[in-house]
């Protein structure tokens, strides 16, 4: 027995960054928007206040702000010859729950794509020859950096991003990231401060001929008002950033930055504890008619709408398409179909640098995006000739926290537990920094998403199934960039030892157990060719012209950067075209 509601102009699935941004823009453009959020209502000020929020066990280990796997999870296997089993416990990635979604517990590392990232396939082919992409399903995005620039800029301003520009309108600026695409404006707030080891990394990197800069950060550094009129305050470097909400209102999140200034708008309605089961299709399948969801009282409700926006977490967007029968699922055997194709992740490695007693790192003084970074080995910023891989990553001396359950670095050769371990932990806790290698992730035909044949979620729907392992390309890339990071570490002063960790080392299969990043991308990629993409370059589904898709599921492969900045640039780009073009004349915006 399904309750049918009156039609609304727009229904938006998910109240995270892109869902609330869509609601703001469309509501202010005269569209009546209903936002459906599976999780509960909460507010940054009252839900994330210190000191209760600063509880490592509850939030970082028991993952209180993250999705509950009994309600929603997926199944996983490294390759098609294995049987996928449920990811019973969170580990490798941490999707969010509740109002604000993962935008509450992110770190705030906010980047732009490089211009060459957006046409990765043609760029690498042109420069190195097509063969360099053999075996990979790397694609162009269909949209250029120049087209996205105003939208990337806008989101940075929504977040009050702190940083130091390296390229202003084509002029490179010493001290910033000289590799970045041209920016039309500087960062809205001053760059963050740096700890002593970070200062040392900066000096050493510079001496070695690299170009260090302060990482762009959505941990705001001064009192700031964003374009929507929302207020943010400055970061206290409290060291409880990732996995936690910010009661100081210093980490940009969707609640303070957008929800607070949107909530009373007459065109905005938020329904929490509303779990969307399906997008419903019209009889001829050419459009969607609305969504069916389970409301807070457990009733099945159908919300009709003229336009449907899919703004759930990347993985759940793909899942929704699959269980709704939107477009055609990818079949790895035939290579046909598009939904679930080109799933990729992030390739993480790190050099662990141990200092003598002269250097106090005070790791507990940290912020999610407090980092001194070099981009010299990201994207195609370096010559890939004869290296045997494409892509790269940034190397960053990041100091986010010193929370002792998880943070207890020990030099190479230290036993994993016991007397020596204990001593090594206390000898090194205050004198260490990690150099993160944040590597890109190429798409290959054998990594994909589909539906599991055996396991179901709490609503009786089949789990999403993830088939993924690190491609050879990325193993070679990771090893190369990590060697550069290690070299910088060894060149710093007062260093007594350097260890390394490489998730994509030769012989190390991808595991869902250790945390890496919450950067699951692809599965509903954007492009200009409907045989290899789910949405066109405006984020509009080829098969259903009134369905617009947002989030990192659109990425054809992953960049060497955290995805939030690029995906929000795409979101505002899509919204611009919805407002100025689509809504006045609903139709496919691109020919196939």
């Amino acid at each position: 027995m399904v309750t049918q509601l009156p039609k609304t102009d727009v229904v938006i699935v998910g109240a995270g960054w892109s869902g609330l941004a869509a609601a703001y823009e469309l509501a202010n453009a005269g569209q009546r928007c209903v936002v459906l959020e599976r999780g509960k209502w909460r507010h940054t000020v009252t839900s994330f206040g210190a000191p209760e929020e600063h509880d490592e066990l509850k939030y970082a280990r028991r993952k209180e702000h993250m999705i509950d796997t009994p309600i929603k999870t997926l199944s996983f296997r490294n390759n098609s010859s294995e049987t996928a089993l449920p990811m019973r416990r969170l580990g490798s990635f941490l999707p969010g729950k509740g109002l604000g979604g993962a935008g509450i517990h992110w770190n705030g590392q906010l980047w732009r794509p490089l211009p060459s990232d957006l046409n990765m396939a043609s760029h690498y082919s042109d420069r190195y020859g097509e063969e360099i992409l053999n075996g990979l399903s790397v694609q162009d995005w269909g949209v250029s950096y120049d087209e996205l620039e105003p939208h990337l800029d806008f989101f940075e301003k929504v977040c009050g991003t702190s940083g130091f520009a390296g390229n202003l309108n084509g002029d490179t600026v010493e001290g910033g990231n000289i590799f970045e695409g041209p920016r039309s404006d500087n960062y809205p707030t001053q760059p963050m401060n740096s700890s002593p080891p970070q200062q040392m990394f900066r000096n050493t990197a510079r001496q070695m001929g690299y170009h260090p800069f302060q990482m762009p950060s959505a941990n705001v550094t001064e009192a700031y008002e964003n374009p929507y009129g929302a207020q943010l305050h400055s970061c206290t470097y409290c060291g409880f950033c990732e996995r936690f909400g910010c009661g100081y209102m210093a980490k940009a999140d969707p609640i303070i930055c957008i929800y607070d200034v949107l909530k009373n708008h007459e065109n905005f309605e938020l329904r929490t504890e509303a779990h969307v089961l399906r997008v419903e299709k019209s009889a001829d399948g050419k459009t969607a008619t609305g969504v069916t969801y389970i409301d807070a009282d457990g009733r099945e409700v159908f919300q009709p709408a003229d336009t449907i926006c899919l703004n759930a977490y990347a993985l759940w967007n793909v899942h929704l398409m699959l269980v709704s029968g939107l477009a055609t699922p990818y079949d790895p055997l035939t290579g046909t179909g598009t939904v679930g194709r080109n799933y990729s992740y992030q390739t993480i490695a790190a050099a662990s640098v141990f200092f003598d007693k002269e250097v106090w790192s005070n790791p507990f003084m940290g912020a999610g995006a407090m980092g001194v970074t070099i981009d010299d080995f990201n994207g195609d910023n370096f010559d890939h000739t004869d290296l045997g891989f494409v892509g790269g990553g940034y190397i960053s001396a990041t100091q986010t926290n010193g929370r002792p359950i998880n943070y207890n670095p020990t030099p190479p050769g230290t036993p994993a537990w016991g007397r020596e371990w204990k001593r090594a932990v206390r000898d090194n806790y205050l004198h260490h920094i990690g150099l993160t290698v944040h590597g890109s992730s190429v798409s290959v035909p054998q990594n994909y998403l589909d539906l599991d044949p055996t396991y179901v979620d709490d609503y009786g729907q089949p789990l999403l199934r993830m088939t993924f392992d690190f491609p050879e390309n990325d193993r070679r890339m990771s090893s190369y960039v990590l060697s550069k990071a290690e070299e910088i570490g060894r060149n710093m002063d007062h260093v007594v030892d350097v260890g390394t960790v490489n998730r994509a080392a030769e012989g190390a299969r991808y595991s869902v157990v250790p945390y890496q990043t919450t950067h699951n991308v692809g599965g509903a990629v954007m492009g200009t060719d409907p045989t290899t993409s789910v949405v066109n370059r405006y984020g509009q589904m080829w098969d259903h012209h009134n369905v617009f898709v947002f989030g990192a599921c659109l990425f054809p492969q992953n960049l060497g950067y955290n995805p939030t900045g690029p995906l929000m640039g795409l979101a505002y780009w899509t919204l611009e075209h919805m407002k100025s073009d689509y809504l006045g004349n609903p139709r496919p915006l691109m020919d196939a």
């Binding site: 000191p51 600063h54 009994p70 990811m87 019973r88 002593p196 409290c238 002792p404 157990v513």
Partner: protein
């Protein structure tokens, strides 16, 4: 009325047990005071002794308290009795299959049952850690961590990781949860705790020896309130 003492149970560790030999560790002896007369919420006495011996191999006593001296067994007891032990955050729908290491937790029982079964299995095969000497204890624990074996119907290597995880959490988590007594873990590394404001000092190359304070820090003291303690009903209740 039978008097119950956690400390009495945990001190039955024989040679190289809870030696309390070092002065700094003496402070942690008071750690039992709050929960000492409270029966275990989940564990049996044998399980508690076993865990104390096990965890003290992982984090032994030196200038700083051992795991059990810092309240790790109290912490694990509370965890197994509460959400974590009962399977919070675990998808427990079947069918259950043995997976690859990359697929993570696939046991068909929740952590409380898992650990209970493991300990029972270990005791059954004569590995009563509490009565062994230090060397033998360490070698048995090492075997659990390295050797593929089924103990009490559980994957010993996987249970080892679960217990190691709990040990670190108990040693370094906020004292509210029953471990990290008197901030033993935080004092050892120099972590100031839940109250954090570092804007003025983040760029300074200085020692910052703020005494630790947890979420439930008792004002004017060097201690924190503890969840287990607040759950106490007194002896003659």
């Amino acid at each position: 009325m039978q008097q119950f003492s956690r400390r009495a149970v945990l001190t039955q560790l024989g040679a190289a047990g809870l030696a309390f030999t070092l002065p700094q560790a003496a402070a942690a002896q008071n750690a039992y005071a709050e929960l000492d007369d409270v029966p275990w919420f989940f564990l049996t006495d044998f399980e508690a002794r076993f865990l104390a011996a096990f965890c003290d191999v992982l984090i032994p006593e030196d200038e700083f308290p051992s795991a059990s001296q810092a309240g790790v067994v109290d912490f694990i007891d509370l965890q197994l009795a509460s959400g974590y032990g009962k399977g919070a955050g675990l998808y427990m729908q079947g069918p259950f299959r043995e997976g690859t290491a990359e697929q993570g937790y696939q046991a068909d029982m929740v952590p409380a049952q898992l650990i209970r079964n493991f300990i029972a299995g270990a005791l059954d095969q004569g590995q009563d850690l509490a009565i062994f000497g230090a060397e033998r204890r360490e070698s048995v624990v090492r075997e659990f961590s390295e050797k593929s074996q089924i103990v009490g119907g559980t994957d010993a290597k996987m249970v080892f990781q679960e217990l190691w995880s709990l040990t670190k959490e108990g040693y370094f988590g906020d004292p509210l949860y029953g471990g990290n007594r008197d901030y033993a873990g935080w004092r050892m590394v120099g972590f100031p705790g839940a109250h954090a404001y570092y804007t003025d000092f983040v760029d300074q190359n200085v020692r910052y020896d703020a005494p630790p304070k947890g979420i439930g820090h008792v004002p004017g003291t060097n201690r924190s309130a503890s969840m287990g303690a607040s759950a106490i009903s007194r002896k003659d209740g």
